[in-house]
Symmetry: C2
């Protein structure tokens, strides 16, 4: 299991499909995770330290946890089946009991960013899905030709890396 | 304060803006509440008793509440400022203490439908915003000309009632 951080939140302009790049702290590799638009918004707002005038759904989740005296110990992206990642939230109640809650990585990360909780990726998931971090310009376009080819091969028909834009 | 139920979830095809009609149990009036697309999806899934293969954000909220032994006593839409409605979730923790949590009506209703909790609208909100329930066909189109005119006047430029479709 290794700790990761949110390195970038990019969007494929062809289908507006947001993708998170989760960077390993020990290597230069990243795990790409495709997520939904609402969760991307929730993550982008937090990364930018912005707030909507009204609480978003993940803000409400954080408030629930707070009023119930719970804590989010950590988030673990623990398996991948086909192209779907699975995550577990480790939630500690006020008596200290830890509950493992099945969740999507997008919701898990939106929460972890709000509570300052660490994000981990299981070794087998990392090994199955991590790619070399593409060199990106400020606009998020991959510039190293060899890396770009490799990244393009990886994403195949799923997105158009030449059109990549930095989402946030 | 009066209890309401979700009478319909409609969408304006001009801007894909979903609107909830909350019906008073005592009269034929409804309170229209414009909501976001993700929350509309969360509400539609619950009204249709459907489940995504993976938990949606509001399913995660329900699970949080469950593992923390909390209960959602009720939801109250308690004020309207300009065109924004404000709601409060009354959450009871395992010691019986009730916490009032500020939330959007859309999140509140998506939660109430999942926990079977009652939804209330404050009298002053009801009086300020309730309209006669438009006659609708199965497709959700208003058919009574007088009511249609009244409803069209109400919604003004916000949506095109003649194009109304039932969202669910």
């Amino acid at each position: 299991m290794r700790e990761v951080e949110v390195k970038a939140l990019l969007v494929d302009p062809m289908n507006n499909g947001p993708v998170l790049l989760l960077k390993d702290n020990q290597t230069e590799k990243v795990v790409p995770v495709w997520i939904g638009q609402p969760e991307a918004t929730a993550i982008a707002m937090q990364l930018q330290h912005k707030e909507f005038p009204r609480p978003l759904t993940h803000d409400l989740l954080r408030t629930f946890l707070k009023v119930m005296n719970g804590e989010l110990d950590m988030v673990v992206i623990d398996s991948i089946q086909d192209t779907t990642y699975y995550a577990t939230l480790f939630v500690r109640d006020k008596e200290g009991q830890v509950h493992e809650i099945d969740a999507r990585p997008s919701d898990s990360i939106a929460m972890a960013l709000r509570t300052g909780s660490p994000i981990y990726v299981a070794d087998e998931v990392f090994e199955a899905s991590a790619i070399d971090l593409p060199d990106t310009t400020e606009e998020g376009v991959v510039t190293n030709p060899a890396e770009r080819k490799k990244f393009e091969d990886f994403v195949k028909d799923q997105m158009h890396i030449s059109d990549f834009k930095r989402f946030i």
